[in-house]
Symmetry: C2
Subunit: 215 residues, 2 copies
Amino acid sequence: MTDKATVAPESRQERKERTRRAILDAALDQLAETGFGALSLRQLTKAAGIVPTAFYRHFATLDELGLTLVDESFVTLRGLIREVRSGDPAPETLIDRSVDVLAVQLEEHKAHFRFIGRERHGGSAALRGAIRHELDLFERELVTDLARMPELERWGAADLHVLASLFVDLMVAAAAEIVSPSAEQAAVRRELVDNLRNQARMIVVGAAGWEPLGG
Amino acid sequence: MTDKATVAPESRQERKERTRRAILDAALDQLAETGFGALSLRQLTKAAGIVPTAFYRHFATLDELGLTLVDESFVTLRGLIREVRSGDPAPETLIDRSVDVLAVQLEEHKAHFRFIGRERHGGSAALRGAIRHELDLFERELVTDLARMPELERWGAADLHVLASLFVDLMVAAAAEIVSPSAEQAAVRRELVDNLRNQARMIVVGAAGWEPLGG
DNA sequence: TGTACATCAGTGAACGCGCGTTCACTGATGTAC
DNA sequence: TGTACATCAGTGAACGCGCGTTCACTGATGTAC
């Protein structure tokens, strides 16, 4: 049972990475309850199964941990977009499919979306700045995606910005709402998702009838 | 100079109200920097010019203070709507006027909007619940306003909810962005307001072309 | 108007607690030979 | 394969600090007569 062959030969590096992961997960867990500013290093490390001082072997400061979580969360968000892009590009089904993918990803990466929703306006200046920067990048990517659509070929940069920012604002607002603890019940969550779908459809109707801005 | 006639005859009640106000203002001030969860009673009372323990003469807990701020902030928000309603009701100018009024009110009641934007998703469960409740009420009021418009007479409750929630989500998102410390520069703020105006216009176009939901 | 008493906003000392961070350490893993 | 040394993730004691809350108090304002 415990002979040499069954013992996992975990290297020092692997063990360190595992601890780092445990810290990040404990943080995401604790951030469901409180804002990042109220995060306790001692509670955090206790949940991660290490002594408080061991935290500094992995992060120089709590802020560095926060920035790591921002990075991680946006990797998740980009995964969402990649999944939407990789499917059927027909405009008629794009909205429905995007909302469906979002709903699934929200469930799987609840903590990441909750973190972004919470700290977007709630966190420290550094955290807010990082999130705002990532959201700007994200919106710019969406603009280039939209610019490729034949229906929008007459649109200028300003028009694309209006539409893209609408989608991003809406998605972030809905995501924050859907992953919030008060939307635990499946029925509530479904209602929120349905509403998001309808909101997106109404915006698409608006885009279809939109007269591009002058200048 | 200091004879009886010039001395303000401040009653005990008036003085108490003034201190209470000082606490609330100090809280709003401190909340520009951190989330409500990271609020310090000691720093708060110091800024208000009283000793820490005097806080309890005015509020039983910090949470009670938070709920008072929620109430206050929504009084501000309702004032905004009242001002929009009291003006020209012509649909063509409604959006522009609403955005203009919002921009002015954001400037005048920056702290209130910042508080709502921050704690909407960032605060304690009690605070989030209170804000969410008030926003629900607010949206319902907007629905009854919209229902009175001749252009929307064929719309059902579900359609009205989609449109109203779009406006509310958008307004809260934009407000939080506009009052954030990173939008201190007038040019940045103007750009955000312009974008909000265009977003609202695109939604109005969407509403104009919207085919009411069945059921 | 004057006096005696009640009210109560604000005081200040004291408490125990959890916090982030320092430091010298331990002992298992990794490396050089 | 065996030995001697280096690395470094995690330990545990200790620190000083600001925290929320308790309590008995003070003294100006308000009230009853």
